[in-house]
Each structure stands twice: as C-alpha cells, then as structure tokens.
C-alpha cells in the first residue's frame, strides 16, 4: 500500500473515531478566500536552444490524435531536476551498406566491397510493382549463394569464402522477419572485392536487398542532421564524417518519407558541412504518421581498398500550424499563481498541447522546480489554452515568490510535432 493511502486510511479512521466520541458540534473556521487577480506577462525572447515558429502555414493532413476533449494534468517535480532543452540534432553511425539488386544481377554475380574478414552479408527479397502488379520475390536459401574473391578483375572460383550461414527461418526467430538469409565471411577472407552469385537462377525482375555489415570496422560513417524540419525549409543541412580517414567524400543523398516515397536529393558542400536541396514538389509526406529519413551513401577508397557505407537518420517534417502569442495572463489567488492562460494563433485546426514547468524560490533565494503542468485541447481557430497550477502541489513544495515559468512548449498532437520551446519563458 502506498504511504499516502496508509495516511489517508489513518486519517479516515481517526475522523470516524472522533466523530463517534465527540457529540459536540464543531465550529468551522474556514478562511475567507481572497479574490482572484490577473496580471499580464510578456514572454521572454528566445535564446540559444529554443525553438520558434515565425510564419504560420496550413495543413490538411488527417490528424494522428483527433480527440476533441480537453485534458489537463499536473504533477509535482523534483526541486533540483535539470530542465534541458530538446536536442535539435540526431546522430547516427554506420559500419554497413545496403543496395537493391535484381534477380538478373544476382544470376550474373554482383561485386561487393568488403573491408574486413568477419563481415556478414544478408540477402533479403523485396517487393516489386514495376509491372503494375505486386511481385513478391522468393527467399534465397543460403546454400544457393556463392561468394568468391575478385583478384585483379578475375574471379577466383576455387573456393567459396563462406564460414557459416543462417536461413530465413533462423533469422526470423531472432527478429529479422523479412525472409533474409545471412552469410558470414570466412576467416581467411581478406579485404577487397567479392562476387556474390546465386546457383539456382532467379527471375530476372526479382528484387533483393543486399546488406553488408562490417561489425567493428574502423571505418564508421557518422551522420548528424536536424531531427525536425519545417515544411517551408528548402534545404536540409547535415554533417558527415568517415572515421580513420581524411579522404574527401562525395556523398549521394535520398529523402525517404514516412509514407514510403523516395526522392533523390541534390547535395552541395557548404564549408565543412553539406546541404541537401529538398524537392519543390511532394516535399512533405502525405501522412502525419511516422518519420522521414535522410539516407546518405558514400563510395570511396581507403588505403587503396574500396569502401562503401550507407547511413541514415530520422526527422519529423512538420507544418508550422500554430504559435503562442508573446503575452500570457497569470491568475493569482492568495499571492500564488493558479493558472497561466496563453493565446494561440492557429492556422490549421488541430489538437494543441501546451506544457511548462512552474518554479518558485526557497528561503535562501534559490529557484527550484514546483510542478509540471500540461493541457491539450482541440482548436479550430485562434484561441486560449490554460495551464492550471495545482494549489496542493504548490503548497507542498514550500516555495514562494518570485515564480517563473520555464520549459514552455507547444506541441501539435495532430501532426505529432513539437512546434516551439522556450527554456526561460516568463518571470511572474
């Protein structure tokens, strides 16, 4: 049983017993509640790490959360808990690459760059609709695959360089459920070019994903890119670095949207970084579900040997559908804030969520957290959203004036997007 429930039970029993023992009427001395007063505050200017919306735009995509009912919540917060601004970048590292090949190419044999002996090659059938009908390419049993070393343009077929194999059933039991087969390279395999070929011919139009995974390779391709992208942004900036190499890279990039569409992106170098030009048409996904991805491919040579890497990272493409006005109304009672009312400018109907941390000041004059308040409601047009500050939680904190509002955040639950964030929002 929770301590609070134990205490409540004891209190209830005590009340009952005292009621049984004391027949006298009790005089209630309820203090007169003071009047509610309202003050206006201007939100503080954004600083580094904050997220802002400048120009509003409309969206007509179906809402992920179309719930019309308003919900509010407040929870006490650890006095010393750190409040950190949300990350704006996402990083990803890759020691692998993948490419899609046809059955015809696998019949003939495809060339693969391998940079270490214990690499793993996975071959997974993929779907194809180029003929107008859905074609499911058949799985390939790993014993139908051969892997030969290529030396000076000639294929050495004296030995298949495979150490062990896993069939689709085994792979599926471990979570790779796409009919994959996997081969592990022989320990005698040396870095270089290999030919992967099937014994039993495949249909020419069949489609396969070939994934070369080089666990522990010293050559890791690291990608750093924004994790959110405004629908009005024409470019996506990213950083790219290949470990243990200072070779100039010539990356290609692809935008993979959450609805499955792909766009090849034009990439230009900007100083030490890169910029991918987003397509004018079909720039936004057709659904609010899921995330978009930028996939970067690099083919190069390191110490004279071929090296291929694919790396990707996810981001949310969003429409700036609403923003907070720069003023808020603070309601007070008994010199304590009871709620903060924010004005929202809304370009598209949606379910908007506002959250913030209320902080107060202790006897030593030090600021500390009191509570986190949150509310969400559907707005068809400009309107108000109110954060309520729980009086009991405020009292229990033992903190007093001056108060402040921190970590003020606006999210669009319809798009599943964070729209804005203000670390230091207001002094009350």
């Amino acid at each position: 049983m929770k301590p609070s429930i134990k205490m409540a039970s004891v209190f209830a029993l005590s009340a009952l017993l005292s009621a049984c023992q004391n027949d006298d009427s009790q005089t209630e001395n309820t203090p007169q509640a003071s009047a509610v007063t309202v003050t206006q505050v201007t939100l503080l200017a954004p600083t580094s790490g904050d997220l802002t919306i400048d120009t509003l735009a409309t969206t007509e995509l179906p809402a992920v959360n179309g719930n019309r009912g308003g919900v509010s919540f407040s929870a006490p917060m650890g006095a010393a808990a750190q409040i950190q601004a949300p990350n704006q970048l996402d990083q990803s590292c890759s020691d692998q690459y993948w490419r899609t090949v046809s059955g015809a190419e696998l019949n003939k044999g495809i060339m693969l760059a391998v940079s270490q002996s214990d690499s793993v090659i996975r071959v997974a059938p993929r779907g194809d609709a180029s003929s107008g009908t859905l074609q499911h390419s058949p799985a390939i049993s790993p014993d139908q695959l051969r892997l030969y070393k290529v030396d000076k343009q000639s294929v050495d077929k004296s030995a298949s360089m495979i150490q062990s194999m896993s069939d689709p059933q085994a792979m599926a039991t471990a979570g790779i459920v796409d009919d994959s087969s996997a081969l592990r390279l022989s320990k005698q395999a040396t870095p270089g070019v290999y030919q992967l070929q099937v014994v039993q011919p495949l249909g020419a139009n069949d489609s396969y994903l070939v994934n070369v995974k080089e666990k522990g390779s010293p050559y890791q391709l690291a990608l750093s890119a924004p994790n959110r992208l405004n629908s009005q942004a024409p470019k996506l900036a990213f950083e790219l670095k290949l470990s243990n190499s200072d070779i100039a890279l010539s990356p290609t990039a692809t935008l993979k949207q959450s609805d499955g569409r792909y766009h090849r992106l034009a990439v230009v170098k900007q100083g030490d970084n890169w910029q991918a030009q987003l397509p004018d048409e079909l720039a936004m996904p057709s659904s609010n579900l899921g995330l978009s991805e930028i996939q970067v491919d690099v083919e190069t040579r390191v110490n004279g040997l071929p090296l291929i890497r694919t790396v990707k990272t996810a981001f949310k493409q969003y429409v700036p559908a609403a923003k907070l006005a720069d003023q808020a109304s603070i309601h007070w009672q008994n010199a304590k804030p009871t709620q903060a009312v924010f004005e929202l400018q809304v370009a598209s109907p949606g379910r908007y969520q506002v959250s913030a941390v209320l902080v107060g000041t202790d006897a030593q004059g030090k600021q500390a957290n009191i509570l986190r308040a949150e509310t969400a409601q559907w707005l068809d047009a400009d309107g108000q959203v109110s954060l309520s500050f729980d009086a009991e939680q405020l009292k229990a904190s033992g903190l007093g004036a001056p108060y402040a509002i921190k970590a003020l955040e606006l999210k669009d639950q319809s798009q599943m997007a964070r729209l804005s964030y203000l670390g230091e929002a207001a002094s009350l």
Binding site: L16, N211, G290
Partner: protein
C-alpha cells in the same frame, strides 16, 4: 441529528474507495498482436510464479493488444489504456505494478509520458506505482533498421508482404531517438517518468548445444540470436543492445548480476522462468 451524523460518516467510510483500495499486477507483452498472451507470450508457469509475490496475487491481468501498431495507436496504447482502466476501476486499484517486456515498455512509457493525449491516461498514471521493464527496447534496435532497409517499394509493399509493422519501424534506432527526444520521458536529458521504471537488462546469448541452459525458452532461438548479434553491440540479448535496454529509467539489474549461475538472459529468456528470473521479480514486487 447526532446519530444521523455518525451513521452518515460510517456510511461514507463503508463506501469509500479507501476501504477497497488494492494493489494490482499487470503483464504487458511486446511487439505482436496478442489474443492469448498468457499462453503464447508469457506462459502460465511464469505468470503464476511471479504473481505469488504480489500483495493480492489474484489481482492480476494479462494484456492482449495489437502492439504491431505505433505505440500511440488506438490498437496499442489505446487498447492498453482501456484494459488498464477497466482493471483499475473494477478492482479499485491504487497501487499498480506493470511488468513489461520489450516494446511493451515503450507503450507504457507513451502513456506515462503523455497524460493529455487521452482522458484515460491520468487515472492510469496516478494509479501506477512501479514499472518493471524486462529488456525494454527504449533505444530501439538496429535489427528494426535492418528489416526496414530497402528500396522504394519497401514500405508500400513490404508491410503488405508481412515484412514488418509500424511497431518495427518505430523501433528503428533513429526513430526511437526522435520519440525519446520529443514524446517519451525517462531517457537522459528528459523529464523523469512519474513512476519508477526499473529495468532488467539481458546482456548475452548462450547457444552451446552441450549446455542445458541454452535450451531454456527454446534452443533454436538462441542459435538465431547469436547470428543477429552481428548487427548489435557485444553487450546484447540478441535482439536489443544493453545500451538500448538501459536508455530509460534505472537499471534494476543486469542479468548476470543476479540470475542463477550468473547466466545471461537472451531476449526470449527474459520473459520466461529461466535462471530464477521469475523468483527475482516475485521477491521484488
């Protein structure tokens, strides 16, 4: 009048929820569309053993939902919220322990992190005292990335062909990073979850055919999980890296620190009565 007051107070006390306030234990499965998770996911042996440690062993619930969907989907978090709410209300639960496995930890974190998404969530948050997360995929898994790699037709056709699900897409590493940064609590630099989220981490896979320990939960899984470790860090349970499992909440223990014989728990074994796991949980709740 005085007698009336006494009777009123006695009556109030008699019907007060405090009278019936109770603890409850809920088993929440991972990715997959479950209709009989007791038999198909957890096993009766595991559930019956664990619940003996609860204050009210008969107040337990095994969740059956469609966790092939995104965690916020009505069929996932919505279904979970519905079953939890019904359990809380029917049993007057105010001290709820949630036992999750794998992606079930993400669905629970979704509810605990987003109280205003759904009007049922606040009641669940207020009733939840503790989450014990067995091998949660809090940081995603590179295996989800591997399944979703592909060409232009991958998403539009791959899902139709049964290659994956929205839950698999969601558990890609960079996707979980995004959700952890924006929508989920409990990871580094983010607000704390409202209830303790205690994690059991599986750190390795044993598949030696001569070792009986490799047969707990099925030998064939152990062999396959060793293959998939090529896509994972050296510290992994064959499906999830230790880093991912410990990304949210606090680590209660890493398998070998407490399991019988210091055996590691593979991803299959972390929801089975292997190496005293059931007893460790039973003694903890």
């Amino acid at each position: 009048m005085k007698i009336y007051k006494k009777l009123m107070m006695l009556g109030l006390f008699a019907v007060s929820p405090l009278t019936y306030a109770a603890s409850g234990l809920v088993f929440i499965h991972g990715t997959g569309h479950q209709t009989d998770a007791l038999s198909d996911y957890w096993t009766r042996e595991f559930v019956d053993s664990v619940r003996q440690g609860a204050a009210s062993p008969d107040n337990y619930l095994v969740i059956n939902c469609d966790f092939d969907q995104y965690m916020w989907d009505d069929a996932a978090a919505g279904c979970l919220a519905g079953q939890l709410t019904q359990f809380i209300e029917s049993k007057n639960i105010n001290d709820l322990t949630l036992l999750t496995h794998s992606n079930g930890g993400n669905v629970v974190r979704w509810i605990l992190s987003n109280p205003t998404w759904d009007s049922r969530y606040p009641k669940i948050i207020n009733a939840t005292s503790k989450v014990i997360a067995l091998a949660p995929s809090s940081g995603g898994t590179p295996l989800a990335d591997a399944v979703t790699q592909g060409n232009v037709f991958e998403t539009s056709l791959g899902w139709l062909l049964g290659y994956g699900s929205d839950a698999v897409k969601q558990q890609q590493v960079s996707w979980m990073s995004s959700y952890n940064n924006s929508w989920l609590y409990g990871t580094s630099g983010r607000p704390a979850l409202p209830s303790p989220f205690e994690v059991v981490v599986g750190s390795d896979v044993d598949s030696a055919f001569w070792d009986g320990d490799s047969y707990c939960a099925g030998y064939q899984y152990q062999v396959a999980l060793e293959t998939t470790q090529n896509w994972l860090d050296d510290c992994s349970d064959g499906f999830l890296e230790c880093q991912s499992q410990s990304a949210a909440g606090t680590v209660w223990f890493k398998d070998i620190q407490r399991t019988a014989g210091k055996e590691p728990l593979s991803h299959q074994q972390s929801r089975r009565a292997c190496f005293n796991l059931d007893i460790l949980i039973r003694d903890h709740i």
